[in-house]
């Protein structure tokens, strides 16, 4: 036999040969998206950076603002505090996530289902909501410390100052590490481990030399995400009344001193630079050690069953973490039904009055949230689909830069976007003199931009799954590009798009960093803002908690819905290659 005739399979198409030039429609679409991104992402952020580097009043270039920043003790302390809190949150989040990931991927363990629930339960409650509830249990006069004081005569400062922020954030964000690390462990080709065993390696040496290096990139990805999220977060420190961190400082400068004060902008630039630097460092650290694409099979490590004492230990670890994770949920629920809950392990009595109040006078918050989050979700999947289509299916020059710009929103903290919008659009007035920045639609746009990177990835994935030949078949049978998109591409993307929409919706519904800057009147405020306002006064805590419960229900329901949609979509296409 001739060697050539035996080769099977077709040529992998390297791309289309001399594929058609961009159509006018594609150009218009790309320009439209570019204008959108420039107006609502690039321009506001550029404005923030520009203000930070110019002299107040004259507009001349200067570094004096940064000099002032470095000279002010408060800001330097705030920077190191933010850094410390983020780093410690990574440490504690790792302490929660590592054992859980190891247990599920190494052992055949019945409790694995509980661990999966642990993987998303914290995420459905925004951290600033959890902060209030945790204070009730772990605060100086919270349930735990009251009991400790009664029984042993001492208290533990779980929630004092920075401790509180670290505590709340690590409980909230450890799933990011858990999810990424578990995925990395699952993707390890089982043969990698078996080859090492075959060559005589076992136990801890096997773990150190093979498993750890292969899983490391997943861990680093999760850890850097936690670092950035915590570093940028505004709402949690504010609610815990911790002011000497960077994001709260930026907020306080702009809200108390005013929009012209350069310090808020300098802090914004520091926030952006640190976020970018952290992500960059993470990608640099894993650049030469990310073997995910080299590995073939996956299948994860070989699982063995646990010995009895190991089972007990595993359940003990899970129980402790589960209790911590559930604490804010229980606390919030109790608080929402409590008449008075102060200086006692549990509330004095229970009532539904808070819910009556929230659904009565404050139902506006809920309505606003539903409108804002839905609109933001719709904008996200529309823009996301358009960008994904241009990137994956056309040869338009510069199409990749749309993707890059939209994804860059990841590195922009919510408060920076908020400040940018205020600065850029407060001066722009409508025909009746209202500043553009005071319109509620601006909140929607900020939410949409913040969630766009995630929605874009969802749309990208949904489109990528569609084999190009499905579209070519439509064209071959007489459908134009436009008709093909309508009749084949969009219907096939529906499941992925719906999931992307729900994810955007759920996270936008509880976003506070950007909203806090942009809400101009109570009538336009969404739920997260209302919650923040309620929590400012002891009398409002009950109603705030009721709002928090509603927020959690909305996010939880959305999360379940998006899982169902993905699952149904996957099943409806099963069997198709």
């Amino acid at each position: 036999m001739n060697a050539m005739t035996r080769r099977s399979g077709a040529i992998p198409l390297l791309g289309s040969v001399g594929a058609g030039r961009a159509t006018a429609g594609q150009v218009v679409l790309a320009l439209g998206i570019l204008v959108f991104l420039v107006l609502f992402l690039v321009w506001p952020v550029a404005t923030v950076i520009w203000v930070a580097f110019t002299e107040k009043g004259t507009g001349a270039f200067t570094l004096v603002n940064f000099y002032d920043f470095a000279r002010t003790d408060l800001f330097v302390r705030a920077f190191w505090n933010s850094f410390y809190v983020s780093a410690m949150a990574v440490v504690f989040a790792s302490a929660f996530a590592l054992p859980l990931a190891y247990i599920t991927s190494r052992f055949a363990f019945r409790g694995a289902a509980v661990i999966q629930i642990l993987g998303f339960l914290p995420l459905i409650m925004p951290p600033f909501v959890g902060a209030v509830a945790l204070q009730l249990f772990f605060g100086r006069n919270g349930s735990i410390n009251l009991l400790l004081d009664d029984w042993f005569g001492f208290k533990v400062p779980f929630m004092e100052g920075l401790n509180g922020v670290v505590f709340v954030q690590s409980i909230h964000y450890f799933p990011f590490i858990l999810i990424n690390l578990s995925a990395a462990l699952r993707n390890i080709d089982r043969a990698m481990e078996e080859a090492a065993q075959n060559l005589g390696s076992s136990g801890f040496r096997l773990f150190r030399r093979i498993v750890f290096p292969l899983a490391l990139p997943g861990y680093v990805a999760g850890a850097s995400l936690v670092f950035v999220k915590v570093f940028d977060d505004l709402a949690t420190p504010l609610l815990l009344n911790v002011k000497d961190m960077l994001a709260p400082q930026a907020y306080l400068r702009v809200t108390s001193i005013g929009i012209t004060d350069p310090m808020g902008y300098v802090i914004s630039v520091v926030l952006i630079v640190t976020s970018v630097a952290a992500m960059w460092a993470a990608s640099l650290a894993t650049r030469n050690i990310d073997y995910a694409t080299v590995q073939r099979g996956g299948g994860g490590l070989v699982r063995r069953s646990l010995k009895p004492w190991e089972t007990v230990a595993a359940y003990a670890v899970i129980a402790v973490i589960l209790l911590l994770v559930l604490a804010p949920h229980f606390g919030l629920l109790l608080l929402s039904f409590a008449t008075i809950w102060s200086f006692s392990p549990l509330p004095d009595a229970y009532t539904v009055a808070h819910y009556a109040r929230v659904f009565g006078e404050s139902s506006l918050y809920i309505k606003n949230t539903l409108i804002y989050a839905s609109l933001a979700g719709l904008i996200d999947i529309a823009v996301g689909t358009a960008i994904a289509y241009l990137v994956l299916r056309t040869k338009l020059p510069g199409r990749a830069s749309l993707d890059t710009i939209a994804t860059a929103a990841l590195a922009i903290p919510g408060i920076v976007l908020g400040i940018g919008y205020l600065r850029s659009y407060y001066g722009v007035e409508l025909w009746d003199g209202t500043p553009l920045a005071s319109l509620w639609i601006v909140i929607v746009l900020a939410l949409a931009i913040r969630r766009l990177p995630y929605a874009l990835r969802a749309c990208h994935a949904a489109l990528q799954q569609i084999s190009v030949s499905l579209e070519e078949a439509a064209e071959n049978l007489g459908a134009t590009k436009m008709r093909t998109v309508r009749r084949v591409v969009i219907p096939l993307m529906t499941g992925g798009l719906a999931a992307g929409f729900v994810t955007s919706f759920a996270t936008a519904a509880v976003e506070l960093s950007a909203t806090l800057m942009l809400v101009q009147s109570n009538a336009d405020a969404p739920l997260a803002y209302g919650l923040y306002v309620f929590m400012q006064s002891p009398a409002g805590r009950g109603a705030g908690a009721a709002l928090g419960v509603i927020a959690v229900v909305i996010v939880a329901a959305s999360t379940v819905l998006s899982q169902l949609l993905v699952e149904r979509d996957r099943r409806s296409k099963a069997g198709h290659s």
Partner: protein
């Protein structure tokens, strides 16, 4: 002349296809280099070649998914090369079948007709006719994922013929089927094509597939057509070394032609001598080519100056069923020689000293 099974609902006409000096590139890489082809009306025509030879690109150029830089594609005398894919009426059955998973089988078949804004009643009738034609009349309401691979392919074919294409393009139609089904489906494909009477272009890398289904074959390599002919012609009289080696197995010997005793003799660099008949034309630099079945092998050394005889040693033996193939090292070259396998006859074994004898009239003289 359509098959009665198509009634008058689907009217197909056999037209000719002319590829006229077509060239295409991917970046700096030339994938098609001045291709000329004439396909006759109603012919089943194969584009055959190894991976990367340009056959799929040529097919996609006909369908309009790849753009030719130069040249024309004439279907029934009309140049299609400037039309977008959706205006070409060139039916294509994709390698993956490309059935839309969100539509039922019937809706898949109806798609092209809906795009043509046909009246609803006509669409229903044509869909039914097309599905009946491929023997899937009962499965219209199923989803593609509920069908077997062979059934999916027939849906793809029904979907294509429903639009009354001018020609039919098949991209590696058998590659997604398992070996056993492949032989059955390729017969079905041939008979369906005969009943349709449509001019059909098939792309494949499998010579057996091309040989068994197609009327004529174009062998392609490196973006060029090496030879066009019936399967037997290509095998019998390959135009060059590539075709000889791509279709079946060929022994190739280098050497030179010298004058000896009033005649000509080919001397291989390994010591084989073969008298050349006076009327035989041997181009400069040509090599001696023969098929394994055109040589035979016997035990023992060859006589010193026997024409077409060469001594060698058996290196390996492959059992192919009805034949045995010997790999023989003979004077520096590796030769394949086939011998019939007969029950009770002890085959030769690796290590045996043998004489290979080549039938002079079966030898071809080919250059690269």
């Amino acid at each position: 002349m359509a098959d009665p099974a198509l009634a008058n609902d689907i009217q197909l006409k056999a037209v000719d296809l002319r590829i006229d000096d077509v060239s295409a590139s991917y970046g700096d890489h030339r994938v098609l280099n001045h291709i000329d082809l004439d396909v006759r009306p109603g012919e089943f025509f194969a584009l055959l070649g190894p991976s990367g030879c340009g056959k799929t690109t040529l097919l996609r150029t006909i369908a309009g998914f790849a753009q030719a830089e130069a040249g024309r594609i004439l279907v029934g005398g009309n140049d299609l090369s400037k039309l977008p894919p959706w205006k070409r009426d060139v039916g294509m059955v994709f390698q993956s079948y490309a059935l839309w998973p969100h539509l039922t089988v019937a809706r898949n078949v109806a798609f092209g007709l809906e795009e043509r804004r046909l009246p609803r009643a006509d669409i229903a009738r044509r869909v039914a006719t097309a599905l009946d034609f491929v023997g899937l009349g009962q499965l219209g309401e199923r989803r593609p994922s509920e069908l077997s691979g062979g059934q999916q392919q027939r849906v793809a074919l029904a979907r294509t013929i429903a639009i009354e294409p001018k020609i039919l393009l098949l991209d590696e139609p058998l590659s997604n089927l398992d070996a056993k089904l492949r032989i059955q489906v390729r017969r079905e494909l041939r008979s369906l094509q005969q009943r349709l009477g449509l001019t059909t272009i098939l792309v494949t890398h499998d010579q057996e597939e091309a040989n068994t289904i197609c009327d004529r074959v174009a062998v392609m390599s490196a973006g060029e057509v090496q030879q066009v002919g019936t399967p037997a012609e290509l095998y019998e009289t390959p135009a060059n070394l590539f075709v000889a080696q791509f279709l079946g197995t060929a022994n190739v010997l280098e050497g030179r032609v010298v004058s000896a005793g009033g005649g000509r003799v080919f001397e291989s660099s390994g010591g084989l001598r073969l008298s050349v008949a006076p009327e035989t034309q041997i181009p400069d630099g040509a090599r001696m080519v023969f098929r394994p079945q055109d040589a035979s092998v016997v035990t023992g050394d060859a006589p010193a100056d026997g024409s077409g005889l060469v001594s060698g040693r058996i290196v390996y033996r492959e059992f192919l069923g009805s034949t045995l193939r010997y790999g023989i090292q003979a004077g520096g070259a590796d030769l394949y020689v086939d011998a019939p396998f007969k029950t009770g006859v002890r085959p030769l074994a690796p290590g045996d000293q043998v004489t290979v004898s080549i039938a002079a009239n079966s030898v071809k003289w080919l250059s690269a």
